[in-house]
C-alpha cells in the first residue's frame, strides 16, 4: 500500500508536467498567431496611410505590405507557422499540415488579431489619417476599382490567392523540408509582387481577416463578400490540386551531389 502510494505520487508530477507542456504549446500557437496577425495588419495598414500631409504611392504601400509579412513570419514562423490568413489555414488543413481544431483556433486568432492590429492604428494616428479625402472608405479598406466588375473582382482575388497558396504548399512540400531559412523573404516578396500586380484592381486582399479589420472599424462593407469567397475557394481548390498533382514523396538529400547525379541518371534512362 505504501509502495503503491509512493509510485502514484511519483508518476503524478511527470503527467502534470507533460500536460502543461502540451497545453502551453497549444496556447503559444494561438497567441502567436494572434500577435502575428496584429503585427502584420498594424504595420501594413500604417504603410498604406496617405493624406495631403503624408505622401504615399501604390508601389510603396505594396512593398510595405510584403515586408510586413516578412516581419510577422520571421517573428512567429517557428511559433505557429505564421499563417496570418484563413485561406492559408484552410489550405494547411486540406493539405494535411494541421488538424481541424487547430485550424479553427487559428481562424479565431487571425480575426481577433486583425481587429486588434487595426484598432491600434486607429488609436495612434489622427482621425483624418484614417478617413479623409484620399480615403473616403477608410485607410487600407479593400475596394473594387472603377471599371472592374464584381465577377472580375472575385476572379482576380481567386487567382492571386491561388498563387499565394501555391507558394505555401511548395514550402510545405516534403522535398523542401530542408530549405526553410529564407521562407520569410520568399513569402514577403511574394506578397509584395501580388499586391503590386493586383492592388490597383481589387486591393489584392488575398486574406479575409485582413479585409475584415478595416471594414469593421470603418463600417465599410461594399463588396466585402468577394474578399471571403475568392480567397477561401482558392485556398481549398489550390491545396487539393497541389496535394494530388505536385506533392513530392521524400526529402531530397542535399549533403552531396549524388542526388543530382541520380536525377540526371533517371532522366537519361527515360
Amino acid at each position: 500500500m505504501s509502495q503503491q502510494k509512493q509510485k502514484s505520487q511519483e508518476s503524478n508530477p511527470n503527467a502534470r508536467w507533460r500536460l502543461e507542456g502540451h497545453q502551453r504549446s497549444a496556447i503559444a500557437c494561438f497567441f502567436g498567431e494572434l500577435a502575428a496577425t496584429a503585427v502584420f495588419v498594424f504595420i501594413a495598414c500604417m504603410g498604406c496611410v496617405e493624406t495631403p500631409l503624408f505622401q504615399n504611392s501604390h508601389f510603396r504601400s505594396g512593398l510595405t505590405f510584403g515586408l510586413a509579412i516578412l516581419i510577422a513570419i520571421q517573428c512567429f514562423g517557428s511559433v505557429s507557422g505564421a499563417h496570418l490568413n484563413p485561406a492559408i489555414t484552410l489550405a494547411a488543413w486540406l493539405y494535411g499540415a494541421i488538424g481541424w481544431i487547430r485550424a479553427i483556433a487559428y481562424f479565431v486568432a487571425q480575426a481577433a488579431g486583425a481587429l486588434i492590429g487595426y484598432g491600434l492604428l486607429v488609436a495612434v494616428l489622427p482621425g483624418n489619417s484614417i478617413k479623409g479625402v484620399d480615403n473616403p472608405s477608410g485607410v487600407c479598406v479593400t475596394i473594387l476599382a472603377p471599371g472592374i466588375s464584381v465577377l472580375q473582382g472575385v476572379f482576380i482575388e481567386f487567382l492571386i490567392t491561388c498563387c499565394l497558396v501555391m507558394v505555401a504548399c511548395s514550402v510545405w512540400d516534403p522535398r523542401n523540408a530542408k530549405l526553410q531559412d529564407s521562407v520569410p523573404v520568399r513569402f514577403g516578396l511574394t506578397v509584395s509582387c501580388l499586391i503590386l500586380t493586383a492592388g490597383l484592381f481589387t486591393g489584392a486582399s488575398m486574406n479575409p481577416t485582413r479585409s475584415l479589420g478595416p471594414a469593421v472599424w470603418n463600417d465599410s462593407w461594399a463588396h466585402h463578400w468577394i474578399y471571403w469567397v475568392g480567397p477561401l475557394v482558392a485556398g481549398a481548390v489550390t491545396s487539393l490540386i497541389y496535394r494530388m498533382a505536385f506533392k513530392g514523396d521524400e526529402e531530397i538529400d542535399l549533403r552531396t551531389s549524388d542526388a543530382k547525379i541520380r536525377m540526371i541518371g533517371e532522366v537519361i534512362v527515360q
Binding site: 471599371g147 501555391m166 511548395s170 520568399r186 500586380t197 551531389s257 532522366v267 527515360q270
Partner: protein
C-alpha cells in the same frame, strides 16, 4: 572513386538478394515492380510538364497584370520591372522542386546542353511553356477591362515587348543577347555541382536577378530574355514588329553561354573539398569550445 564504390556495392547486394528469391516469386515481384515504376515515372513526367505549363501561365498572368498602366491605374517602369522579378520568385518557389520552373525555352535549351534533361522532355517543356504563356495572357484579357489592356501608354497591348525608337534592330538583338547571357550564367551557376547543397534562397536569387536585368534593359527592348514571354502578347494582339530578335537573341545566348560555362567553369565536387567542408565545421566547433 571512393564515393562511387559504395554505390556499386549496394547494387551488387541488391542483385544477390533478387537472385536468391524463388523463381515464381521472382518473376511476379519483378513484373509488378517494373509496372509500378513505369507508371509512376510516366505520371511524374506528365505532372512535371503540367507544372511547367502552369508556372509559365502564372508568369504571364501576374507579370503582365503588374505592367498595366493607364489613366486610372498608375504604374512606372521601376515598379513593373521589380514586379516581374518577384513573379519569377513566386513561380520558382511554387514549382522549382516539381519541374525546375524554367519558364523559358532559353533556360530549357541551356538545361539540355548541360545534360540535365533529355531531348523529348526538353521539347515537351517547350510546348508546355508556349501553351502556358498563351493561357496566362488570355486569362489576363478575360479578367481586366479593355481600357487596361489597350491604353495611351500601351496602344498595341499591355506587356508587348518592343524596341525603343532610338535603337536599331541589331542593337536590340545585342541587348537581348547580352542580358540573356547573364541570365543563363546565373542558371549555370545554380546547377554547378559545387552549389548542390546551396538551394535554400534560390527563388529570391533568381527573382532579384530578373528584377535587375529588367530594370537594366526594360526601357530599351522590354528585357524579354524569353521567346514565349514575347510570343504570347504578340499572338494575342497581332503585333509582330521586330519579333524575331526575341527568339534569336535569347536562344543564341542560351546555347553559347551554356556551352562555354559547361566546358570552362563547371567543376565536379572533389573529395578534398568535402574534407575542407568538414574541416571548417571542426574549426567552428573548436572555436566555440574555446
Amino acid at each position: 572513386m571512393p564515393v562511387q564504390q559504395p554505390q556499386s556495392a549496394e547494387i551488387g547486394h541488391q542483385m544477390k538478394m533478387s537472385s536468391e528469391e524463388p523463381p515464381s516469386g521472382k518473376q511476379t515481384c519483378r513484373s509488378q515492380s517494373n509496372c509500378w515504376l513505369l507508371q509512376r515515372r510516366q505520371l511524374d513526367s506528365i505532372t512535371t510538364v503540367l507544372a511547367e505549363m502552369i508556372a509559365t501561365a502564372m508568369l504571364m498572368f501576374l507579370g503582365c497584370m503588374g505592367s498595366v498602366e493607364n489613366s486610372v491605374f498608375t504604374n512606372s517602369d521601376f515598379q513593373s520591372a521589380l514586379n516581374f522579378g518577384f513573379v519569377v520568385l513566386i513561380c520558382i518557389q511554387c514549382f522549382g522542386c516539381v519541374c525546375g520552373a524554367h519558364l523559358n525555352p532559353a533556360v530549357t535549351l541551356a538545361t539540355y546542353v548541360y545534360n540535365m534533361i533529355s531531348l523529348p522532355m526538353a521539347l515537351a517543356y517547350f510546348v508546355a511553356q508556349m501553351v502556358g504563356a498563351f493561357i496566362g495572357y488570355g486569362l489576363l484579357k478575360a479578367v481586366l477591362p479593355e481600357s487596361a489592356i489597350y491604353s495611351a501608354e500601351n496602344p498595341n497591348g499591355v506587356c508587348l515587348t518592343s524596341l525603343n525608337s532610338t535603337l536599331t534592330p541589331w542593337q536590340g538583338l545585342a541587348v537581348e543577347f547580352l542580358i540573356t547571357c547573364v541570365l543563363i550564367s546565373v542558371c549555370c551557376g545554380v546547377w554547378d555541382p559545387r552549389n548542390a547543397t546551396k538551394q535554400d534562397s534560390l527563388p529570391v536569387r533568381f527573382g532579384l536577378a530578373i528584377a535587375c536585368l529588367s530594370l537594366t534593359a526594360g526601357q530599351l527592348t522590354g528585357a524579354s530574355m524569353n521567346p514565349v514571354r514575347s510570343f504570347a502578347p504578340a499572338i494575342w494582339n497581332g503585333f509582330w514588329d521586330d519579333h524575331w530578335i526575341y527568339w534569336v537573341g535569347p536562344m543564341a545566348a542560351a546555347l553559347i553561354t551554356s556551352v562555354i560555362y559547361k566546358h570552362a567553369f563547371r567543376r565536379e565536387l572533389e573529395e578534398s573539398e568535402v574534407d575542407e567542408t568538414t574541416m571548417s565545421t571542426k574549426r567552428t566547433s573548436e572555436a566555440e569550445l574555446a
